[in-house]
């Protein structure tokens, strides 16, 4: 399944946040969205996820405009992890992950057999099955981030959009999270993440979308995007891309 934004324009409270942005996330690819704070990364992801309705332009899912889909039908195909990780009530992990099954019900809030199977699969995929009976308020930051990924996976999405899912995680959890996203992409899912860690972007993403001031500055393979010239243009820093033991790193100085 292919998600595509074409010439998206979005204004939030009178301010232009996106202008003429086009971006694609195809099946089997992990796409990183990078750019300085305020570049419009979150708004692009929200618009592609259907949370924000664009003023102009289209969001297409396999070529069909998503405005023709109901919200629930969209949620059957696409899962969105917002930047905010607030959970307002201290529910059990399995109940939280079960929220990913809400789009599959009319009015019921209790899970049926198929739902429970999907939840169990999602818990296992995110390696949090041992936490199923714990309360979300008792989890560490790393555990909690994985539980939220499991909630998105419970939707059994074809496309996963995550806004800075690695923010605030220690290096080990960050690494594990990106490996997981990469393996999801290699399993055929289209995964799009906004991130600030340029080294992780260079190492794990198949393709990078670089944004600045509400527009796309560059879109291509990490080696073509993470160049000193583009990094200077986007972030206003002098940065170099190097390799250590075959692992790419991007350092600003």
């Amino acid at each position: 399944m292919k998600l595509e934004g074409r010439n998206l324009a979005v204004s939030l409270s009178g301010r232009r946040v996106l202008l003429g942005v086009s971006a694609v996330c195809d099946a089997g690819e992990l796409v990183g969205v990078i750019g300085p704070n305020g570049a419009g990364k979150s708004t692009l992801l929200k618009t592609l996820a259907g949370v924000v309705v664009p003023d102009a332009g289209q969001v297409l899912l396999d070529g069909a405009d998503v405005s023709g889909l109901t919200r629930a039908a969209l949620a059957h195909r696409l899962a969105y992890l917002p930047q905010s990780r607030t959970v307002h009530w201290p529910v059990k992990v399995e109940a939280l992950v079960g929220l990913g099954r809400l789009p599959f019900h009319g009015f019921a809030i209790e899970l049926d057999v198929a739902d429970r199977a999907a939840v169990a699969k999602a818990l296992a995929a995110a390696q949090v099955d041992h936490l199923a009976k714990r309360l979300t308020s008792e989890l560490s930051g790393g555990e909690f981030a994985r539980v939220l990924v499991a909630r998105a996976l419970a939707q059994e999405p074809k496309i996963l959009i995550a806004d800075e899912p690695s923010a605030g995680l220690d290096p080990a959890h960050q690494l594990a999270l990106f490996r997981h996203f990469r393996s999801l992409a290699e399993g055929g899912m289209g995964v799009m993440v906004a991130l600030h860690d340029l080294s992780a972007a260079a190492r794990f993403c198949h393709r990078l979308v670089m944004m600045k001031d509400g527009a796309v500055l560059a879109d291509g393979a990490p080696t073509d995007v993470l160049t000193p010239v583009l990094l200077k243009q986007a972030f206003d820093v002098t940065a170099v891309r190097a390799e250590i033991d075959g692992i790419p790193v991007v350092v600003a100085h």
């Binding site: 949370v51 009530w89 529910v91 809030i109």
Partner: protein
């Protein structure tokens, strides 16, 4: 935390308390005699029994059931929608508006003209207050603007109610206003119960339809939208549902405080803190609490006038203090 016994236990409790309410009162009426009089309109012992059961006890028990359910359910839905455990049904201005309307009905003497003048004025006040709150908060405003607008409208209505009281030249009207504001289910007719049901039942249905949205809102608004929830629709369902249910309650029975705050709190741990699952048990718990409190009021009320709203506040306020202490402990931990 699956507790499959919770809802059946609450249903049984409500049924028992409803029967208890029917059998409580100064006229000692036995269980069988009372039910016979109520259902078949015959009584072997006294002819007044039929009248007492059908005209005094039945409306009172029905109102206890309806108003308790309305307050418990509205409290649970508002707490879930606002994601705030301290929200109570009065928060959106509906109780204060209803009180102001009813007080004006007494103050102007309209209440003396026809039985329904007071509750209808109360309803008008409740809906006017909610309309102003929605207007202030904007059609798409978030929870915080809704709370702020509700607080503002509540204090304006409170001030106007106090003004009506202080301008009242008639001491009887003043006493009537004061007693009415304390909240009571006594001396209401089947007409009152019918009016309450006419508004509370559709209001409750609207609130019950928000269960999915409340569950999804556990993850915040953006995630809820991505899960297929229409936030605008949920907001209208919650605000209008609570306005219908609580507006009708306040207009018919005055202010019965703390039920909408306390009941969802007591039940929340029993449903694993899930806001959608909280709705039906809170409806039942509210009904049980108000029916029970109204029985207590009558058991101890022979000597003086212990009003229902006073009793629920006397139970509710210390509970609120306990909540404050507990949340302080959680913050320190």
């Amino acid at each position: 935390m699956q507790r499959p016994w919770l809802t059946p236990v609450l249903v049984i409790a409500v049924a028992i308390l409803f029967l208890g309410s029917l059998l409580t009162g100064p006229a000692g009426v036995g269980l069988l005699e009372g039910l016979n009089a109520l259902l078949f309109g015959t009584s072997a012992e006294r002819e007044t029994t039929v009248l007492i059961m059908r005209e005094i006890r039945l409306p009172r028990a029905l109102l206890g059931l309806l108003i308790g359910a309305a307050l418990g359910l509205s409290g649970a839905a508002l707490q879930g929608y606002l994601r705030n455990p301290l929200a109570e049904p009065g928060l959106i201005g509906v109780s204060a508006g209803g009180t102001l309307g009813a007080v004006l009905a007494i103050h102007t003497g309209l209440a003396g003209l026809t039985v329904l003048a007071l509750p209808l004025m109360g309803l008008a006040g409740a809906f006017a207050a909610v309309a102003v709150v929605l207007g202030l908060a904007g059609l798409r405003g978030g929870p915080i603007t809704l709370i702020l607008a509700g607080v503002a409208v509540t204090s304006v209505c409170g001030a106007l109610t106090a003004l009506a009281l202080s301008l009242s030249r008639n001491p009887y009207a003043t006493t009537e206003i004061l007693f009415w504001m304390l909240g009571s289910l006594g001396d209401r007719s089947l007409l009152h119960a019918g009016l309450a049901a006419l508004l509370i039942v559709p209001g409750a249905i609207m609130l019950l339809f928000t269960a999915r949205a409340l569950e999804a809102l556990t993850l915040g608004e953006e995630a809820a939208v991505s899960l297929g929830i229409d936030l605008n629709r949920s907001r209208w369902l919650v605000v209008l549902g609570a306005a219908l249910a609580v507006g009708a309650s306040t207009s018919v029975a005055g202010t019965i405080g703390f039920v909408g705050l306390v009941v969802p709190h007591l039940i929340r741990p029993l449903v694993g803190n899930r806001p959608g699952r909280l709705l039906v048990p809170s409806l039942l718990g509210g009904a049980a609490l108000v029916l029970g409190a109204d029985i207590v009021v009558r058991l101890f009320g022979d000597t003086g006038e212990l009003k229902l709203g006073v009793l629920t506040s006397i139970i509710g306020a210390p509970f609120f203090l306990y909540l404050v202490l507990r949340s302080r402990k959680e913050l320190l931990a």
